[in-house]
Subunit: 162 residues, 2 copies
């Protein structure tokens, strides 16, 4: 089991794109979930698939179990998912010794852009890039799970002019 | 994805034990669940662990995805399970060309014995051994998930004198 320790933010402008690399399209959906846990399947455009179980109610730290699975089985699971399949392109930006992941959503959430940084300890204190907007760590409405299973907050999609 | 097609019964007496083989102790628990799905982790006494996702409301046929996982991660997941860990010993009995699995429960469900037969098609019509009791296929109360997450039907434990 790994610990997932991450902070998540909205994104205020497009300036992060200057240093972005490794753009990767992916699709993901949720197979099951509970108040403090989710079971996710993700398929990348490069043809890799992974099953991820996250457990823990805290926004900052969660237990995470990840397993590579055959793509054809991931596709079958996705067809049986709870809620919608989310499509996004993930970009990476190195900043202040940390790797930031910027997710640009497509499909139903086109216009939504979120950034997250994974830390190895809760004591890590990553420097915040100027292109970050409001922090949404622990705000369930901005979790990928919420976006997939509930209808997302409409103001979120309209407030951003990206 | 495999299709799980199975019928499940209570067990009326002990005569199945004469032909039983391959007794295997196992523990299992549920990581997440929904009305028509469950995510289960199982650890055998031989030190193998497996994650199983079952989807489908029907009692007879369900989609099943299974992955071997490291035992230490399975133990960690079990500690984070929803509901109880179920302990049972699984025996096998060949009868009429089918393999019957007889689960003898321990711990909180000591006294409960259930038999199931896996079929390769819904058209299969396995001959029913004389030691079977009432059929409980599709009866959610007798699912392992229900036993783990809800409190089991008390009459079930008292009605059987095994």
């Amino acid at each position: 089991m790994a610990k997932e320790i991450e902070r998540k933010f909205l994104v205020a402008d497009r300036s992060w794109r200057e240093n972005a690399r490794d753009a990767a399209k992916l699709r993901q959906a949720y197979i099951a979930s509970g108040p403090d846990r989710s079971v996710r399947v993700r398929i990348t455009a490069k043809g890799k698939a992974r099953l991820t179980i996250k457990i823990g109610g805290s926004g900052l730290v969660r237990d995470e179990f990840e397993y590579d699975i055959p793509v054809d089985e991931a596709e079958e699971m996705m067809a049986l998912a709870v809620g919608n399949v989310i499509e996004k392109t993930r970009h990476k930006v190195k900043f202040g010794g940390f790797v930031w992941e910027i997710d640009v959503f497509e499909g139903a959430y086109k216009g939504l852009v979120m950034a997250e940084v994974e830390m190895s300890s809760t004591k890590d204190d990553p420097e915040l890039p100027a292109w970050l907007g409001r922090e949404v760590t622990g705000d369930a409405r901005y979790s990928n799970h919420y976006l997939a299973v509930e209808s997302g907050p409409a103001e979120l999609l309209h407030a951003l002019s990206l």
